[in-house]
Protein backbone atom coordinates (compact mmCIF):
# COMPACT_ATOMS: atom_id res chain seq x y z
CA UNK A 1 0.00 0.00 0.00
CA UNK A 2 1.31 3.41 -0.88
CA UNK A 3 -0.20 5.68 1.80
CA UNK A 4 1.49 6.20 5.04
CA UNK A 5 1.81 8.54 7.99
CA UNK A 6 1.64 12.13 6.91
CA UNK A 7 4.92 14.03 6.52
CA UNK A 8 6.78 10.89 7.34
CA UNK A 9 10.55 11.10 6.59
CA UNK A 10 12.18 8.32 4.62
CA UNK A 11 15.19 6.68 6.29
CA UNK A 12 15.80 6.86 10.05
CA UNK A 13 19.28 7.58 11.42
CA UNK A 14 21.00 6.49 14.61
CA UNK A 15 19.67 9.60 16.34
CA UNK A 16 16.11 8.71 15.35
CA UNK A 17 16.56 5.35 17.04
CA UNK A 18 17.93 7.00 20.19
CA UNK A 19 14.93 9.34 20.20
CA UNK A 20 12.58 6.41 19.63
CA UNK A 21 14.09 4.61 22.60
CA UNK A 22 13.62 7.63 24.86
CA UNK A 23 10.00 7.85 23.73
CA UNK A 24 8.99 4.19 24.11
CA UNK A 25 11.13 3.16 27.09
CA UNK A 26 8.40 3.74 29.73
CA UNK A 27 6.06 1.38 27.89
CA UNK A 28 8.29 -1.54 26.95
CA UNK A 29 10.24 -4.21 28.81
CA UNK A 30 14.01 -4.01 28.66
CA UNK A 31 14.09 -7.68 27.77
CA UNK A 32 16.80 -9.90 29.24
CA UNK A 33 19.66 -11.46 27.30
CA UNK A 34 19.88 -15.18 27.99
CA UNK A 35 22.74 -17.57 27.32
CA UNK A 36 22.88 -21.35 27.16
CA UNK A 37 26.09 -23.36 27.22
CA UNK A 38 24.54 -26.41 25.56
CA UNK A 39 23.36 -24.41 22.55
CA UNK A 40 26.76 -22.66 22.40
CA UNK A 41 28.40 -26.07 22.15
CA UNK A 42 26.04 -27.19 19.41
CA UNK A 43 26.54 -23.94 17.47
CA UNK A 44 30.30 -23.69 18.03
CA UNK A 45 30.05 -20.04 19.08
CA UNK A 46 28.98 -17.84 21.99
CA UNK A 47 25.33 -16.89 21.62
CA UNK A 48 23.49 -14.02 23.31
CA UNK A 49 19.72 -14.28 22.96
CA UNK A 50 17.79 -11.00 23.18
CA UNK A 51 14.40 -12.26 24.34
CA UNK A 52 11.76 -10.15 22.59
CA UNK A 53 9.34 -13.02 23.14
CA UNK A 54 9.13 -11.48 26.65
CA UNK A 55 8.34 -8.05 25.15
CA UNK A 56 4.90 -6.43 25.55
CA UNK A 57 2.41 -8.25 23.25
CA UNK A 58 4.96 -11.06 23.02
CA UNK A 59 7.05 -9.61 20.19
CA UNK A 60 9.45 -6.78 19.19
CA UNK A 61 6.58 -5.29 17.16
CA UNK A 62 5.51 -3.37 20.27
CA UNK A 63 8.59 -1.16 19.82
CA UNK A 64 7.88 0.06 16.30
CA UNK A 65 4.14 0.43 16.85
CA UNK A 66 4.67 2.46 20.02
CA UNK A 67 7.19 4.75 18.38
CA UNK A 68 4.87 5.38 15.45
CA UNK A 69 1.87 6.09 17.64
CA UNK A 70 3.79 8.23 20.15
CA UNK A 71 5.11 10.30 17.22
CA UNK A 72 1.62 11.28 16.04
CA UNK A 73 0.12 14.67 16.88
CA UNK A 74 -2.86 15.00 19.21
CA UNK A 75 -4.87 16.04 16.18
CA UNK A 76 -3.96 12.86 14.32
CA UNK A 77 -4.63 10.69 17.36
CA UNK A 78 -8.18 12.07 17.58
CA UNK A 79 -8.99 10.29 14.32
CA UNK A 80 -7.54 7.02 15.50
CA UNK A 81 -4.99 4.59 14.11
CA UNK A 82 -5.45 1.58 11.88
CA UNK A 83 -3.64 -1.27 10.21
CA UNK A 84 -4.27 -4.59 8.54
CA UNK A 85 -2.57 -7.61 10.08
CA UNK A 86 -3.40 -10.98 11.49
CA UNK A 87 -0.12 -11.20 13.35
CA UNK A 88 1.95 -9.49 16.01
CA UNK A 89 1.70 -6.03 14.43
CA UNK A 90 -2.07 -6.13 15.01
CA UNK A 91 -1.59 -6.69 18.74
CA UNK A 92 1.18 -4.09 18.83
CA UNK A 93 -1.02 -1.40 17.29
CA UNK A 94 -3.87 -2.35 19.60
CA UNK A 95 -1.52 -2.10 22.60
CA UNK A 96 -0.03 1.22 21.44
CA UNK A 97 -3.49 2.67 20.87
CA UNK A 98 -4.38 1.81 24.45
CA UNK A 99 -1.23 3.53 25.75
CA UNK A 100 -2.01 6.86 24.07
CA UNK A 101 -5.78 6.59 24.40
CA UNK A 102 -6.39 6.50 20.65
CA UNK A 103 -8.96 4.31 18.97
CA UNK A 104 -7.19 1.46 17.17
CA UNK A 105 -8.87 -0.43 14.33
CA UNK A 106 -7.43 -3.61 12.91
CA UNK A 107 -8.50 -5.10 9.58
CA UNK A 108 -8.18 -8.87 10.01
CA UNK A 109 -8.99 -11.76 7.65
CA UNK A 110 -12.19 -13.41 8.83
CA UNK A 111 -10.27 -16.69 8.92
CA UNK A 112 -7.87 -15.40 11.62
CA UNK A 113 -7.34 -17.84 14.52
CA UNK A 114 -9.59 -17.06 17.46
CA UNK A 115 -6.75 -16.53 19.99
CA UNK A 116 -5.29 -13.79 17.77
CA UNK A 117 -8.68 -12.11 17.46
CA UNK A 118 -9.21 -12.34 21.22
CA UNK A 119 -5.74 -10.94 21.93
CA UNK A 120 -6.39 -7.88 19.76
CA UNK A 121 -9.79 -7.35 21.40
CA UNK A 122 -8.14 -7.81 24.79
CA UNK A 123 -5.98 -4.75 24.13
CA UNK A 124 -9.14 -2.77 23.43
CA UNK A 125 -8.92 -2.46 19.64
CA UNK A 126 -11.81 -2.75 17.21
CA UNK A 127 -11.71 -5.36 14.51
CA UNK A 128 -13.11 -5.16 10.99
CA UNK A 129 -13.11 -8.52 9.29
CA UNK A 130 -12.24 -8.83 5.60
CA UNK A 131 -11.85 -11.65 3.10
CA UNK A 132 -8.65 -13.61 3.55
CA UNK A 133 -6.71 -12.08 0.66
CA UNK A 134 -4.44 -9.07 0.13
CA UNK A 135 -6.93 -7.27 -2.17
CA UNK A 136 -9.76 -7.39 0.36
CA UNK A 137 -7.43 -6.32 3.17
CA UNK A 138 -6.22 -3.28 1.29
CA UNK A 139 -9.63 -2.26 -0.01
CA UNK A 140 -11.24 -2.60 3.39
CA UNK A 141 -8.48 -0.59 5.02
CA UNK A 142 -8.55 2.08 2.29
CA UNK A 143 -12.30 2.53 2.64
CA UNK A 144 -11.96 2.73 6.42
CA UNK A 145 -9.19 5.35 6.24
CA UNK A 146 -11.16 7.48 3.79
CA UNK A 147 -14.22 7.36 5.99
CA UNK A 148 -12.51 8.05 9.31
CA UNK A 149 -9.28 9.91 8.53
CA UNK A 150 -7.45 7.43 10.76
CA UNK A 151 -3.71 7.10 10.37
CA UNK A 152 -2.47 3.90 8.78
CA UNK A 153 0.60 2.45 10.45
CA UNK A 154 2.33 0.05 8.11
CA UNK A 155 3.93 -3.00 9.76
CA UNK A 156 7.39 -2.22 8.36
CA UNK A 157 7.36 0.38 5.57
CA UNK A 158 7.28 3.26 8.02
CA UNK A 159 10.04 5.57 9.26
CA UNK A 160 8.94 5.43 12.92
CA UNK A 161 8.32 1.71 12.90
CA UNK A 162 11.83 1.04 11.57
CA UNK A 163 13.37 3.43 14.12
CA UNK A 164 11.42 1.70 16.90
CA UNK A 165 12.57 -1.75 15.86
CA UNK A 166 16.17 -0.47 15.99
CA UNK A 167 15.87 0.06 19.76
CA UNK A 168 16.09 -3.68 20.33
CA UNK A 169 19.64 -3.92 18.95
CA UNK A 170 20.50 -0.74 20.89
CA UNK A 171 19.67 -2.48 24.17
CA UNK A 172 21.45 -5.62 23.04
CA UNK A 173 24.72 -3.81 22.25
CA UNK A 174 24.49 -1.68 25.40
CA UNK A 175 24.13 -4.76 27.57
CA UNK A 176 26.47 -6.96 25.54
CA UNK A 177 29.04 -4.95 23.58
CA UNK A 178 31.65 -6.44 21.25
CA UNK A 179 29.38 -8.79 19.35
CA UNK A 180 30.86 -10.07 16.09
CA UNK A 181 27.42 -10.67 14.58
CA UNK A 182 23.79 -9.78 15.15
CA UNK A 183 21.17 -11.99 13.50
CA UNK A 184 17.51 -11.15 12.93
CA UNK A 185 14.77 -12.83 10.93
CA UNK A 186 13.61 -11.12 7.70
CA UNK A 187 10.02 -10.74 6.59
CA UNK A 188 9.22 -7.23 5.35
CA UNK A 189 12.59 -6.10 6.68
CA UNK A 190 11.57 -3.64 9.41
CA UNK A 191 13.51 -5.29 12.22
CA UNK A 192 16.51 -5.99 9.99
CA UNK A 193 16.52 -2.38 8.72
CA UNK A 194 16.34 -0.80 12.18
CA UNK A 195 18.94 -3.20 13.51
CA UNK A 196 21.36 -2.57 10.67
CA UNK A 197 21.13 1.24 10.94
CA UNK A 198 21.76 1.08 14.68
CA UNK A 199 24.66 -1.34 14.45
CA UNK A 200 26.40 0.55 11.65
CA UNK A 201 26.58 3.61 13.92
CA UNK A 202 27.38 1.91 17.19
CA UNK A 203 29.93 -0.74 16.28
CA UNK A 204 32.23 -0.74 13.30
CA UNK A 205 33.00 -4.44 13.41
CA UNK A 206 29.63 -6.03 14.21
CA UNK A 207 28.13 -7.62 11.11
CA UNK A 208 24.35 -7.77 10.72
CA UNK A 209 22.96 -10.85 9.00
CA UNK A 210 19.34 -11.46 8.04
CA UNK A 211 18.00 -15.01 8.20
CA UNK A 212 15.09 -16.11 6.04
CA UNK A 213 13.26 -19.41 5.49
CA UNK A 214 14.18 -21.07 2.18
CA UNK A 215 10.44 -21.38 1.56
CA UNK A 216 10.07 -17.57 1.68
CA UNK A 217 13.42 -16.42 0.29
CA UNK A 218 12.28 -13.30 -1.56
CA UNK A 219 14.61 -11.00 0.44
CA UNK A 220 17.59 -13.25 -0.25
CA UNK A 221 16.86 -13.24 -3.98
CA UNK A 222 16.08 -9.52 -3.98
CA UNK A 223 19.47 -8.61 -2.49
CA UNK A 224 21.30 -11.11 -4.70
CA UNK A 225 19.75 -9.81 -7.92
CA UNK A 226 19.46 -6.18 -6.82
CA UNK A 227 15.74 -5.96 -7.53
CA UNK A 228 12.73 -6.48 -5.30
CA UNK A 229 10.94 -9.77 -5.77
CA UNK A 230 7.49 -9.94 -4.24
CA UNK A 231 6.91 -12.79 -1.79
CA UNK A 232 4.83 -15.19 -3.86
CA UNK A 233 3.21 -18.28 -2.41
CA UNK A 234 5.66 -18.51 0.50
CA UNK A 235 5.70 -21.90 2.18
CA UNK A 236 7.11 -21.93 5.70
CA UNK A 237 6.14 -22.61 9.28
CA UNK A 238 7.54 -19.14 10.10
CA UNK A 239 4.24 -17.34 9.65
CA UNK A 240 5.65 -13.94 10.62
CA UNK A 241 7.98 -13.86 7.62
CA UNK A 242 5.63 -14.12 4.64
CA UNK A 243 5.79 -10.48 3.53
CA UNK A 244 7.93 -8.78 0.88
CA UNK A 245 10.56 -6.05 1.24
CA UNK A 246 9.49 -2.49 0.43
CA UNK A 247 11.63 -0.08 -1.61
CA UNK A 248 12.67 1.51 1.67
CA UNK A 249 13.66 -1.63 3.59
CA UNK A 250 15.33 -3.01 0.44
CA UNK A 251 17.49 0.12 0.20
CA UNK A 252 18.46 0.08 3.88
CA UNK A 253 19.27 -3.62 3.88
CA UNK A 254 21.29 -3.39 0.65
CA UNK A 255 23.43 -0.68 2.20
CA UNK A 256 23.91 -1.94 5.76
CA UNK A 257 23.45 -5.69 5.96
CA UNK A 258 26.39 -8.07 5.51
CA UNK A 259 24.32 -10.82 3.89
CA UNK A 260 21.08 -12.76 4.01
CA UNK A 261 21.19 -16.50 4.61
CA UNK A 262 18.34 -18.95 4.11
CA UNK A 263 17.37 -21.91 6.28
CA UNK A 264 15.35 -25.09 5.88
CA UNK A 265 12.14 -25.89 7.73
CA UNK A 266 13.99 -28.71 9.52
CA UNK A 267 16.54 -26.26 10.91
CA UNK A 268 13.79 -23.90 12.06
CA UNK A 269 12.04 -26.71 13.92
CA UNK A 270 15.32 -27.96 15.40
CA UNK A 271 16.13 -24.42 16.60
CA UNK A 272 12.65 -24.02 18.08
CA UNK A 273 13.01 -27.30 19.94
CA UNK A 274 16.39 -26.31 21.38
CA UNK A 275 14.99 -22.99 22.59
CA UNK A 276 12.03 -24.69 24.31
CA UNK A 277 13.91 -27.64 25.74
CA UNK A 278 17.25 -26.14 26.61
CA UNK A 279 16.59 -22.44 27.17
CA UNK A 280 13.09 -23.00 28.57
CA UNK A 281 11.56 -20.22 26.54
CA UNK A 282 8.44 -20.17 24.40
CA UNK A 283 9.25 -18.95 20.88
CA UNK A 284 7.24 -18.76 17.70
CA UNK A 285 8.73 -20.32 14.56
CA UNK A 286 9.82 -16.93 13.14
CA UNK A 287 11.67 -16.25 16.39
CA UNK A 288 13.71 -19.42 16.00
CA UNK A 289 14.85 -18.58 12.45
CA UNK A 290 18.10 -16.74 13.40
CA UNK A 291 19.28 -19.65 15.54
CA UNK A 292 18.45 -21.94 12.61
CA UNK A 293 20.94 -19.83 10.64
CA UNK A 294 23.69 -20.63 13.14
CA UNK A 295 22.82 -24.33 13.07
CA UNK A 296 22.86 -24.43 9.25
CA UNK A 297 25.95 -22.26 8.66
CA UNK A 298 28.22 -22.93 11.66
CA UNK A 299 31.32 -22.12 9.61
CA UNK A 300 30.35 -18.44 9.42
CA UNK A 301 30.05 -18.08 13.19
CA UNK A 302 32.72 -20.46 14.51
CA UNK A 303 34.24 -19.07 17.71
CA UNK A 304 32.41 -15.73 17.38
CA UNK A 305 30.19 -13.76 19.71
CA UNK A 306 26.75 -13.75 18.15
CA UNK A 307 23.70 -11.74 19.17
CA UNK A 308 20.40 -13.37 18.27
CA UNK A 309 17.12 -11.48 18.30
CA UNK A 310 14.34 -13.85 19.39
CA UNK A 311 11.62 -11.88 17.68
CA UNK A 312 8.48 -13.26 19.33
CA UNK A 313 6.75 -15.94 21.34
CA UNK A 314 3.17 -16.03 20.08
CA UNK A 315 2.63 -19.67 19.17
CA UNK A 316 -0.18 -22.17 19.55
CA UNK A 317 1.19 -24.46 22.26
CA UNK A 318 -1.18 -27.25 21.30
CA UNK A 319 0.40 -27.42 17.83
CA UNK A 320 4.13 -27.46 18.47
CA UNK A 321 5.95 -28.94 15.46
CA UNK A 322 8.23 -31.19 17.52
Amino acid sequence: MEWNQKNEPNIPTFNDIVEAHRLIEPFIHRTPILTCKTIDEIGGCKLFFKCENFQKVGAFKARGALNAVLSLSKEQLKYGIATHSSGNHAQAIAYAGGIVGAKATIIMPKTSPKPKVEAVKGYGAEIIFCEPNQKSREETLRAFLQKTNSTFIHPYDNFYVIAGQGTCAKELLEDQPNLDFILTPVGGGGLLSGTSILVKSLSNFTKVIGVEPKGADDAFRSIRDNKIYPSQEPKTIADGLLTSLSERTFGIIKQNVERIITVSEESIIQAMKLLFERMKIVVEPSGAVPLAGVLEYPEIFLGSKVGIIISGGNVDLTKLPF
Copy 2:
Protein backbone atom coordinates in the same frame (compact mmCIF):
# COMPACT_ATOMS: atom_id res chain seq x y z
CA MET B 1 18.34 -41.75 55.13
CA GLU B 2 20.38 -40.88 58.14
CA TRP B 3 23.93 -40.59 56.78
CA ASN B 4 25.13 -37.35 55.39
CA GLN B 5 28.19 -35.29 54.62
CA LYS B 6 30.83 -35.70 57.30
CA ASN B 7 31.10 -33.00 59.97
CA GLU B 8 28.13 -31.27 58.47
CA PRO B 9 26.68 -28.51 60.69
CA ASN B 10 22.95 -28.42 61.30
CA ILE B 11 21.23 -25.13 60.46
CA PRO B 12 22.76 -22.57 58.09
CA THR B 13 22.73 -18.88 58.94
CA PHE B 14 22.55 -15.80 56.73
CA ASN B 15 26.35 -15.75 56.57
CA ASP B 16 26.44 -19.32 55.34
CA ILE B 17 24.15 -18.30 52.48
CA VAL B 18 26.39 -15.33 51.65
CA GLU B 19 29.40 -17.66 51.64
CA ALA B 20 27.50 -20.16 49.49
CA HIS B 21 26.72 -17.43 46.98
CA ARG B 22 30.37 -16.39 46.76
CA LEU B 23 31.33 -20.01 46.17
CA ILE B 24 28.77 -20.94 43.52
CA GLU B 25 28.42 -17.61 41.69
CA PRO B 26 30.96 -18.44 38.93
CA PHE B 27 29.04 -21.58 38.01
CA ILE B 28 25.40 -20.44 38.05
CA HIS B 29 23.28 -18.00 36.10
CA ARG B 30 22.07 -14.90 37.89
CA THR B 31 18.59 -15.60 36.59
CA PRO B 32 16.39 -12.70 35.46
CA ILE B 33 13.27 -11.48 37.24
CA LEU B 34 10.37 -11.21 34.82
CA THR B 35 7.09 -9.36 35.22
CA CYS B 36 3.80 -9.62 33.35
CA LYS B 37 1.04 -7.05 33.55
CA THR B 38 -1.68 -9.48 32.48
CA ILE B 39 -0.87 -11.93 35.26
CA ASP B 40 -0.64 -9.03 37.74
CA GLU B 41 -4.17 -8.05 36.77
CA ILE B 42 -5.43 -11.60 37.18
CA GLY B 43 -3.70 -11.95 40.56
CA GLY B 44 -4.56 -8.50 41.87
CA CYS B 45 -0.98 -7.86 42.97
CA LYS B 46 2.47 -7.02 41.57
CA LEU B 47 4.37 -10.22 40.83
CA PHE B 48 8.12 -10.63 40.37
CA PHE B 49 9.08 -13.99 38.91
CA LYS B 50 12.58 -15.22 39.70
CA CYS B 51 13.21 -17.54 36.77
CA GLU B 52 15.15 -20.53 38.07
CA ASN B 53 13.82 -22.49 35.11
CA PHE B 54 16.65 -20.67 33.29
CA GLN B 55 19.17 -21.86 35.89
CA LYS B 56 21.89 -24.41 35.04
CA VAL B 57 20.28 -27.88 34.71
CA GLY B 58 16.93 -26.08 34.41
CA ALA B 59 16.22 -25.74 38.14
CA PHE B 60 17.35 -24.05 41.39
CA LYS B 61 18.73 -27.44 42.48
CA ALA B 62 22.03 -26.51 40.80
CA ARG B 63 22.63 -23.99 43.60
CA GLY B 64 22.43 -26.39 46.53
CA ALA B 65 24.26 -29.20 44.76
CA LEU B 66 27.11 -26.89 43.77
CA ASN B 67 27.46 -25.49 47.25
CA ALA B 68 27.58 -28.97 48.77
CA VAL B 69 30.13 -30.23 46.28
CA LEU B 70 32.31 -27.12 46.41
CA SER B 71 32.37 -27.43 50.22
CA LEU B 72 33.90 -30.91 50.15
CA SER B 73 37.62 -31.45 50.74
CA LYS B 74 39.90 -32.67 47.96
CA GLU B 75 40.22 -35.91 49.90
CA GLN B 76 36.45 -36.38 49.92
CA LEU B 77 36.13 -35.48 46.24
CA LYS B 78 38.61 -38.23 45.36
CA TYR B 79 36.05 -40.81 46.42
CA GLY B 80 33.28 -39.23 44.41
CA ILE B 81 29.78 -38.02 45.20
CA ALA B 82 26.48 -39.85 45.01
CA THR B 83 22.76 -39.45 45.46
CA HIS B 84 19.48 -41.12 44.63
CA SER B 85 17.01 -39.11 42.57
CA SER B 86 15.08 -39.31 39.37
CA GLY B 87 14.53 -35.58 39.27
CA ASN B 88 16.36 -32.27 39.11
CA HIS B 89 18.68 -33.05 42.02
CA ALA B 90 20.14 -35.91 39.96
CA GLN B 91 21.06 -33.54 37.15
CA ALA B 92 22.32 -30.97 39.63
CA ILE B 93 24.71 -33.44 41.30
CA ALA B 94 25.85 -34.65 37.90
CA TYR B 95 26.51 -31.06 36.84
CA ALA B 96 28.29 -30.17 40.09
CA GLY B 97 30.47 -33.28 39.83
CA GLY B 98 31.56 -32.16 36.39
CA ILE B 99 32.46 -28.68 37.68
CA VAL B 100 34.83 -29.97 40.38
CA GLY B 101 36.05 -32.98 38.41
CA ALA B 102 34.59 -35.52 40.85
CA LYS B 103 32.96 -38.75 39.82
CA ALA B 104 29.20 -38.47 40.36
CA THR B 105 27.01 -41.54 40.70
CA ILE B 106 23.23 -41.36 40.64
CA ILE B 107 20.95 -44.16 41.82
CA MET B 108 17.86 -43.96 39.60
CA PRO B 109 14.74 -46.13 39.42
CA LYS B 110 14.97 -48.32 36.32
CA THR B 111 11.59 -46.89 35.29
CA SER B 112 12.96 -43.33 35.02
CA PRO B 113 11.93 -41.51 31.82
CA LYS B 114 14.60 -41.76 29.14
CA PRO B 115 15.12 -37.98 28.76
CA LYS B 116 15.99 -37.73 32.47
CA VAL B 117 18.45 -40.61 32.20
CA GLU B 118 20.01 -39.05 29.10
CA ALA B 119 20.29 -35.65 30.79
CA VAL B 120 22.18 -37.13 33.75
CA LYS B 121 24.48 -39.06 31.41
CA GLY B 122 24.94 -35.89 29.38
CA TYR B 123 26.49 -34.18 32.42
CA GLY B 124 28.94 -37.08 32.67
CA ALA B 125 27.54 -38.91 35.71
CA GLU B 126 27.29 -42.65 36.11
CA ILE B 127 23.92 -44.23 36.73
CA ILE B 128 23.11 -47.29 38.81
CA PHE B 129 19.57 -48.46 38.24
CA CYS B 130 17.46 -49.75 41.13
CA GLU B 131 13.91 -50.98 41.61
CA PRO B 132 11.33 -48.19 41.58
CA ASN B 133 10.74 -48.02 45.34
CA GLN B 134 12.26 -46.16 48.27
CA LYS B 135 13.69 -49.31 49.88
CA SER B 136 15.61 -50.36 46.78
CA ARG B 137 16.87 -46.80 46.26
CA GLU B 138 18.22 -46.58 49.80
CA GLU B 139 19.72 -50.06 49.86
CA THR B 140 21.40 -49.59 46.51
CA LEU B 141 22.82 -46.26 47.58
CA ARG B 142 23.95 -47.57 50.97
CA ALA B 143 25.76 -50.51 49.38
CA PHE B 144 27.40 -48.16 46.87
CA LEU B 145 28.57 -45.74 49.57
CA GLN B 146 30.02 -48.55 51.70
CA LYS B 147 31.88 -49.94 48.72
CA THR B 148 33.27 -46.65 47.40
CA ASN B 149 33.39 -44.24 50.34
CA SER B 150 31.61 -41.68 48.12
CA THR B 151 29.87 -38.75 49.82
CA PHE B 152 26.08 -38.83 49.77
CA ILE B 153 24.51 -35.47 49.04
CA HIS B 154 20.90 -35.45 50.18
CA PRO B 155 18.48 -33.47 48.00
CA TYR B 156 17.36 -31.25 50.89
CA ASP B 157 18.38 -32.57 54.33
CA ASN B 158 21.85 -31.09 54.05
CA PHE B 159 23.35 -27.94 55.54
CA TYR B 160 25.15 -26.92 52.34
CA VAL B 161 22.22 -27.71 50.09
CA ILE B 162 19.90 -25.55 52.19
CA ALA B 163 22.43 -22.70 52.24
CA GLY B 164 22.83 -22.97 48.46
CA GLN B 165 19.08 -22.84 47.84
CA GLY B 166 18.96 -19.65 49.95
CA THR B 167 21.09 -17.83 47.36
CA CYS B 168 18.12 -17.63 45.02
CA ALA B 169 16.11 -15.40 47.39
CA LYS B 170 19.29 -13.39 48.04
CA GLU B 171 19.50 -12.46 44.36
CA LEU B 172 15.77 -11.82 44.25
CA LEU B 173 15.83 -9.36 47.17
CA GLU B 174 19.01 -7.69 45.93
CA ASP B 175 17.45 -7.07 42.52
CA GLN B 176 13.95 -6.37 43.81
CA PRO B 177 13.92 -5.10 47.40
CA ASN B 178 10.79 -4.29 49.39
CA LEU B 179 8.81 -7.39 48.56
CA ASP B 180 5.87 -8.03 50.87
CA PHE B 181 5.92 -11.77 50.20
CA ILE B 182 8.17 -14.43 48.74
CA LEU B 183 6.53 -17.68 47.65
CA THR B 184 8.26 -20.98 46.99
CA PRO B 185 6.97 -24.51 46.39
CA VAL B 186 7.46 -27.07 49.19
CA GLY B 187 8.54 -30.65 48.69
CA GLY B 188 11.25 -31.71 51.14
CA GLY B 189 11.58 -28.10 52.21
CA GLY B 190 15.16 -27.30 51.11
CA LEU B 191 14.26 -24.28 48.99
CA LEU B 192 11.70 -23.01 51.49
CA SER B 193 14.20 -23.41 54.37
CA GLY B 194 17.04 -21.58 52.62
CA THR B 195 14.66 -18.86 51.45
CA SER B 196 13.17 -18.30 54.89
CA ILE B 197 16.56 -18.06 56.65
CA LEU B 198 17.77 -15.54 54.09
CA VAL B 199 14.65 -13.41 54.16
CA LYS B 200 14.46 -13.32 57.97
CA SER B 201 17.91 -11.71 58.03
CA LEU B 202 17.59 -9.42 55.06
CA SER B 203 14.10 -7.96 55.36
CA ASN B 204 12.05 -7.64 58.51
CA PHE B 205 8.71 -7.22 56.78
CA THR B 206 8.90 -9.75 53.91
CA LYS B 207 6.80 -12.79 54.69
CA VAL B 208 7.79 -16.18 53.30
CA ILE B 209 4.98 -18.52 52.31
CA GLY B 210 5.31 -22.11 51.15
CA VAL B 211 2.87 -23.43 48.56
CA GLU B 212 2.05 -27.12 48.32
CA PRO B 213 -0.30 -29.22 46.18
CA LYS B 214 -3.42 -30.35 48.10
CA GLY B 215 -2.63 -33.84 46.80
CA ALA B 216 0.75 -33.79 48.61
CA ASP B 217 -0.03 -31.65 51.64
CA ASP B 218 2.20 -33.35 54.21
CA ALA B 219 4.17 -30.16 54.96
CA PHE B 220 0.95 -28.20 55.50
CA ARG B 221 -0.35 -30.83 57.94
CA SER B 222 3.04 -31.18 59.62
CA ILE B 223 3.25 -27.48 60.45
CA ARG B 224 -0.41 -27.33 61.46
CA ASP B 225 -0.14 -30.27 63.88
CA ASN B 226 3.48 -29.61 64.89
CA LYS B 227 4.67 -33.10 63.97
CA ILE B 228 6.20 -34.47 60.81
CA TYR B 229 3.86 -36.49 58.62
CA PRO B 230 5.56 -38.54 55.97
CA SER B 231 4.40 -37.94 52.39
CA GLN B 232 2.24 -40.98 51.74
CA GLU B 233 0.82 -41.79 48.34
CA PRO B 234 0.98 -38.19 47.13
CA LYS B 235 -1.15 -37.52 44.08
CA THR B 236 -0.20 -34.45 42.09
CA ILE B 237 1.07 -33.39 38.70
CA ALA B 238 3.83 -31.50 40.55
CA ASP B 239 6.31 -34.38 40.47
CA GLY B 240 9.06 -32.39 42.18
CA LEU B 241 7.07 -32.06 45.41
CA LEU B 242 6.43 -35.65 46.44
CA THR B 243 8.97 -35.84 49.30
CA SER B 244 8.53 -35.33 53.06
CA LEU B 245 10.06 -32.73 55.35
CA SER B 246 13.07 -33.77 57.42
CA GLU B 247 13.51 -32.90 61.11
CA ARG B 248 15.84 -30.13 60.02
CA THR B 249 13.68 -28.52 57.33
CA PHE B 250 10.63 -28.91 59.58
CA GLY B 251 12.39 -26.99 62.33
CA ILE B 252 13.56 -24.20 60.05
CA ILE B 253 10.18 -23.81 58.39
CA LYS B 254 8.32 -23.82 61.71
CA GLN B 255 10.51 -21.00 62.94
CA ASN B 256 10.76 -18.78 59.86
CA VAL B 257 7.86 -19.34 57.52
CA GLU B 258 4.64 -17.31 57.79
CA ARG B 259 2.40 -20.13 56.64
CA ILE B 260 1.94 -22.93 54.13
CA ILE B 261 -0.99 -22.81 51.72
CA THR B 262 -2.26 -25.65 49.56
CA VAL B 263 -3.51 -25.53 45.98
CA SER B 264 -5.64 -27.69 43.70
CA GLU B 265 -4.43 -29.45 40.59
CA GLU B 266 -6.68 -27.16 38.53
CA SER B 267 -4.91 -24.08 39.91
CA ILE B 268 -1.51 -25.58 39.18
CA ILE B 269 -2.47 -26.26 35.57
CA GLN B 270 -4.03 -22.81 35.20
CA ALA B 271 -0.85 -21.21 36.57
CA MET B 272 1.32 -23.29 34.25
CA LYS B 273 -0.77 -22.25 31.27
CA LEU B 274 -0.51 -18.55 32.18
CA LEU B 275 3.26 -18.83 32.50
CA PHE B 276 3.59 -20.52 29.09
CA GLU B 277 1.07 -18.39 27.23
CA ARG B 278 1.52 -15.01 28.82
CA MET B 279 5.08 -14.97 30.14
CA LYS B 280 6.41 -17.19 27.33
CA ILE B 281 8.43 -19.36 29.67
CA VAL B 282 8.66 -23.12 29.96
CA VAL B 283 7.93 -24.25 33.53
CA GLU B 284 7.45 -27.64 35.10
CA PRO B 285 4.30 -28.20 37.18
CA SER B 286 6.17 -27.78 40.50
CA GLY B 287 7.46 -24.43 39.26
CA ALA B 288 3.92 -23.18 38.70
CA VAL B 289 2.76 -24.07 42.22
CA PRO B 290 3.56 -20.69 43.88
CA LEU B 291 1.59 -18.76 41.24
CA ALA B 292 -1.26 -21.22 41.79
CA GLY B 293 -1.18 -20.02 45.43
CA VAL B 294 -1.76 -16.44 44.32
CA LEU B 295 -4.59 -17.50 42.01
CA GLU B 296 -6.28 -19.52 44.75
CA TYR B 297 -5.79 -17.07 47.68
CA PRO B 298 -5.88 -13.62 46.06
CA GLU B 299 -7.13 -12.04 49.30
CA ILE B 300 -3.77 -12.69 51.01
CA PHE B 301 -1.80 -10.87 48.33
CA LEU B 302 -4.17 -8.11 47.19
CA GLY B 303 -2.18 -5.00 46.24
CA SER B 304 1.11 -6.45 47.52
CA LYS B 305 4.51 -6.92 45.94
CA VAL B 306 5.05 -10.64 45.65
CA GLY B 307 8.24 -12.48 44.70
CA ILE B 308 7.64 -15.87 43.11
CA ILE B 309 10.37 -18.46 42.72
CA ILE B 310 9.81 -20.39 39.50
CA SER B 311 11.69 -23.43 40.66
CA GLY B 312 12.31 -25.27 37.39
CA GLY B 313 11.51 -25.87 33.74
CA ASN B 314 12.14 -29.55 33.11
CA VAL B 315 8.90 -30.77 31.61
CA ASP B 316 7.95 -33.12 28.80
CA LEU B 317 6.70 -30.68 26.16
CA THR B 318 4.78 -33.40 24.34
CA LYS B 319 2.63 -33.96 27.43
CA LEU B 320 1.56 -30.49 28.52
CA PRO B 321 -1.58 -30.71 30.69
CA PHE B 322 -3.40 -27.85 28.95
